[in-house]
Amino acid sequence: MTQAAAVVARDLGKHYAVEERGEGVWALRSLSFEVRKGGALAVVGENGSGKSTLLDLLQGATRPSEGTLRVEGPVASLLELGAGFFTELTGRENAVEAGALRGLSRERARRVAEEIGAFVELGDFYDRPVRTYSAGMLMRLGFGVASAVAAPVTLVDEVLAVGDGYFQRRCIDRLVALRAQGTTLVVASHDLHALRSLCDTALWLRQGRVHALGPSDEVLGRYEEHLRLRAAPTGEAPGRRGTGEVRIREVRLTDAEGRQRSEFRTGEMLRIEVLFEAVTPVESPVMGVALFRDDGVYCHGPNTSADAALGGRYEGVYRLTAEFPELPLLGGSYQASVAFYDKDHVYAYAWDHRLYPFRVASDRPDHGLVALRHRFRVDPIGSDEGAA
């Protein structure tokens, strides 16, 4: 194991027997990677790509069929809703038993359970049997228990998606805090925004094998592109979401003269005006707009963080204007999104996703999505070389 590595996998493989067919399946094969101590690895891939099997192996819940895997230090994990909870015990009792199972004294486990109660905000339900919990409540309790005591390595599977926006944000804050304390994170998720901000490296699994491994920006960008090409943009359906610190009051699509329009021409100005209210003070929010073709293809999504613009503290009502001076989109139907994220671009304060439709008409005979600036040239080469 490299001196500074918390996780090292070498030619890792996991085979599951399928008795009915007298054969088996390789859920993972030839996997080699390292996670440095205090680092954070994002694990992405489509369903069935082997993400959960990898996390099971890291947790020690199952054993590799081939290769080696070394994980330095105890592991805390949140891999499946309700896993590790006894339904007849209350949330508090489960928290105490989980602490005891991790080797805490009962006195310490009770104190930690008190802290978990404050974090998960389940109110009276904390003292009710877990069998009465909703999926979201189970997720809260699960995350609270898994993250209550810092472990050298913490694993989180997709379960965070179950919680509401407010609690997701608290979970991500806690993961950021754990990382700051030196915990090594391995996070599997479809939330690419969160992964980009939390993780420095990413592993993209396809059919149980490493498809890409490297800096998270690069790998997640490639993965996102892959999803786009599959016309499955980011799995996010049109709609309004967010944690509520910012409220979007009105969105107008206008031309250069400020006239509201629903149809534009290729090459003219598209201006998106957003009237928003920072309900509570927010520091340097990431403000952005995005354009999608109506089949979900993501065309472009500039934001103030990428442009290093418009930082500072916001409180009250403002108008954000995004201008596309020479709209390059070719003819078709499109939708605009508007989003306000926290400064780390992890969770959305307000996000109106593909809620603002518009059409683009074009006189150009070009094919495709956008009109890119281009030129053609023909250079005479000579008859001999031309023939070759």
Partner: protein, 256 residues
């Protein structure tokens, strides 16, 4: 050797199991007493009146005799059923770090209530009859119950993964235990059994435990052989169970 951390969680889990078992019913935990007594009453009716074997005690004496055997036996069945279900009915264990030992120990210990009721009924009956059970009579029935729990835990460690690997095991186990109910001197006094049957029953470790349970009834003596088998069986099952669990557990976990 350090005590595993999970052992501290067994008590709270068993308490919660017992609390949960009759939660919501009007009679609540009174069912823990009523249900076994009805079970004993049904067998007493059949074997003490309708099909009464020759020899053995009459009336309430026969009820005490049945309770002393049937309730610990029911506890054993409950423990083994629960152990066999420990993995297949808690599939979430696949993605958690909860040790299988905790689930099996919970199943073994949750059955103690029923067995303890049998022990208490027998001791109460002996006192009511004015019989002094003696030191052995006081100590051996509770010891038998402890040994039974240990044996169930050992056997349960092997049954839990095996039941996940072979789904036919659970119904097979239930049927076998039903058969053994009548292939052990639980309902019929040993004095009423033919010699050959009694010899065959000597191979059943529960026969020896039964003699320990029934010592306060003075329904036959307890020999060195009975105590030896009662002590050796749990030790052997604990060792075998731990070894077999190691052998089968990972394959069973992957099968969940």
């Amino acid at each position: 050797m350090a005590i595993p951390a999970w052992t501290a969680s067994v008590g709270p889990l068993v308490r919660a199991d017992l609390r949960q078992r009759y939660a919501g019913s009007r009679l609540g935990s009174a069912w823990a007493l009523i249900a076994p007594l009805i079970e004993v009453g049904a067998y007493v009716l059949v074997f003490g009146w309708l099909a009464r074997p020759a020899g053995g005690p009459d009336g309430l004496g026969f009820a005490a005799f049945v309770a002393a055997g049937l309730l610990p036996w029911s506890a054993l069945r409950e423990a083994l059923d629960g152990s066999a279900a420990a993995l297949v009915e808690n599939r979430w264990i696949r993605r958690s770090r909860v040790p299988l030992e905790l689930l099996v120990a919970r199943a073994a210990l949750a059955s103690v209530a029923r067995g303890a009721l049998g022990v208490l009924l027998v001791l109460a009956w002996a006192l009511w009859q004015g019989a002094a059970p003696g030191l052995a009579g006081w100590l051996l029935p509770p010891l038998a119950l402890c040994l039974q729990v240990a044996a169930c835990y050992g056997l349960g460690l092997a049954l839990a993964p095996l039941a996940a690997l072979h789904p036919d095991l659970r119904p097979g186990l239930t049927s076998s235990l039903t058969l053994l109910t009548f292939a052990s001197p639980i309902l019929i006094p040993e004095s009423a059994l033919p010699g050959a049957v009694l010899t065959a029953m000597e191979w059943n470790p529960f026969t020896h435990l039964l003699r320990l349970y029934r010592l306060p009834l003075a329904a036959g003596g307890v020999g060195f052989g009975d105590v030896s088998v009662a002590l050796a069986t749990p030790l052997a099952l604990l060792a075998a169970g731990a070894a077999l669990k190691q052998r089968w557990f990972w394959a069973a976990r992957d099968r969940l």
